[in-house]
Symmetry: C2
Subunit: 376 residues, 2 copies
């Protein structure tokens, strides 16, 4: 599945979504970030904000058919089932399709729930440029497809589209449910994470003429740092990962690189543990810097600091009760989301929680992503 | 200094070199690889091959003023000093300027001494393409500048230009002489070395949703392998170095890379030690592959296998005697060359050896490369 946000394909699925919810009798509102709110009136004719089931229809460039999509499809199925059974909720319920959750085309993930939550300035979001064509902005694409709505992208009760609650069903994107034989994950919150970039400064040198004792070996030091960060994370039951490593472009087999840059992604459900892992890593890096040859130096920047999020206890317990009823307590488990989701932003302004379903081998962001019909 | 082989700048210095040696009364021969042989007749009028002092006038794109150049300049200074003092050797002596030693423009280092020694086929050398402009070959540049000589590029006594011996003065390109306070290195041979490329196959996975225990973490395994190869080399008093490391271009901070590729350069003056280090590394890599999470796999290729070279004992001892006379035994030392040089090829066909002089901080292939006048 390749449906980058606000492409012609995305416009097509938005049109389809609009038709489907209107067939069900929903009213449809679009805000200034193109977020689509389908609202099914309850029997009470109350002005209370609707209870939303939300996720996103956009995908990664080489994504799967479940990430995001399943949450919207499941919500649609809920409304269809209600209609088929002539069931009406007391208060309004509905569906949200959040724009540009992936951040794959316009590089800001959970972009429009972020604007809605007041965490991302709308101008900044509008100004995001297509990573492959800088003449195209997110706003110009909203305009081209007619999705620059009139409602403010906000949870403000008068100008925006406030929500009474937000539930998001999503594939786990990890292997835990499958490996433990559970079918529902009751998501209590999202891990805190920090993204660091570390640059190790050594000195380029001929690999044949420079004794080990005379080296400022940035490659060796960076390797030791990656190994150390993994060991430290393990001790804390946290995660530490290096996704990118770079040597200068003139690197060669017989020249020690002058410097090595790598990323470090640290995660744990508790912010204090993320902090502890970071501190221990930096301390270990300092030790490693003087361990071999003539030593190296290093510097680091923190590129992202995303504190842990706790979801609403009431929402979490309502999911727990439903899971117990549906699959029994032995087939569900409490979890913490390892990745970011729109619900992380909605949780700042309305009671929110998430439901995880298994995905095969934990694979996501890939065409082989799969969730069985039984599980969804 | 930027004087890539067979550029207009190289043609200029070749013209200058030809003028200088002809002023000294040398005859000049050019072979089919553009190697320049300046020959000063001895008093004996013998047909014995000349004793050569050789090195190269080409440089790296961002090189220094000593690597190669010093060997040719020193040889010229020897002939000038002989002339100024009306000194004539018994047999012929002379200078060689070897073409494309660096391999920086046409990617084959020690290219033309290699052809001369019969180790590199001339057609392959002629067909080498300019790394920045594939329409240009080494042969087309030899022709353009008039350096496609008529003599065979060979040590054959009738068709080529055989040498009676080959001495090469060169900066050390390492820190040993400076650190031990010596001014002359008597080079007994060149290290053996092997270049391996290792590819670690893991599995891309989300850094936030994939527990350490579920990972196929190629980055962690590659880092451990680099650390292990250094430790193993250290035990053998050998060298192990990683100059290049690569992750797929779609790598990101929050995705474990599917695979990691790195180079491994192993060196030691004894081939058996190079072999032992390689074997221990591959054994360690196999252990590392199953150490973490769900493991990784790896494969490797050997890209270069350059056995150790021993220089001629007579040449080595004549350098030792001269060094003792000039600076005293406490200021010279026996050494093994860590890098490749034209003399490695000449040594296969005529008695050869090298003289190292210190270079500041071991820096070479860099504009700050420096050797004091006292040392050269």
């Amino acid at each position: 599945m390749a449906r980058l946000t606000l492409t012609d394909d995305d416009a097509k699925v938005r049109k389809w979504f609009a038709d489907e919810v209107q067939k069900l009798g929903c009213s449809l509102s679009v805000d200034q970030m193109g977020n689509m709110f389908a609202r099914q009136s309850g029997s009470m004719k109350s002005s209370a904000p609707m209870i939303a089931m939300g996720s996103h229809l956009d995908t990664q460039p080489r994504g799967g058919r479940y990430d995001g999509i399943l949450g919207v499809m499941a919500a649609l199925e809920v409304l269809r089932t209600m209609k088929e059974n002539n069931f009406k909720t007391s208060y309004d319920v509905g569906i949200v399709n959040w724009t540009n959750e992936e951040g794959a085309r316009f590089p800001k993930s959970m972009c429009s729930s972020g604007v809605w939550a007041g965490a991302i300035p709308i101008q900044m979001a509008w100004d995001l440029r297509d990573i492959h064509d800088s003449t195209v902005t997110l706003r110009s694409e909203l305009e081209r497809h007619g999705y620059l709505g009139e409602i403010a992208c906000s949870n403000d009760a008068t100008t925006g589209f406030p929500l009474g609650a937000h539930f998001e069903l999503h594939i786990e994107q990890g292997p835990i449910l499958q490996e433990t034989g559970r079918s529902i994950g009751i998501v209590q919150g999202a891990q805190g994470y920090r993204w660091l970039t570390i640059t190790v400064q050594g000195k380029d040198a001929h690999t044949g003429t420079t004794p080990l004792s005379a080296r400022h070996d940035a490659m060796l030091a960076a390797s030791k740092m990656i190994v150390a960060s993994n060991a430290i994370a393990k001790q804390h039951d946290a995660l530490a990962s290096t996704g990118i490593i770079r040597v200068p472009s003139n690197a060669s087999t017989n020249t020690l690189p002058s410097d090595v840059t790598f990323t470090l992604d640290i995660r744990h459900p508790r912010d204090s543990t993320v902090q502890a892992v970071q501190e221990e890593c930096l301390k270990a890096f300092a030790t490693i810097s003087s361990e071999d040859g003539k030593g190296v130096s290093f510097n680091w920047t923190m590129d992202t600091d995303s504190p842990a999020v706790k979801f609403d206890q009431g929402c979490v317990e309502s999911i727990k009760a439903a899971a117990d009823h549906l699959v029994g307590p032995e087939k569900s488990m409490y979890m913490t989301s390892g990745a970011g989701h729109d619900t992380v932003y909605t949780s700042k302004h309305c009671p929110s929680a998430m439901i995880f379903v298994p995905c095969r081998d934990g694979v996501s962001h890939h065409p082989t992503e799969y969730c069985t019909p039984e599980d969804w």
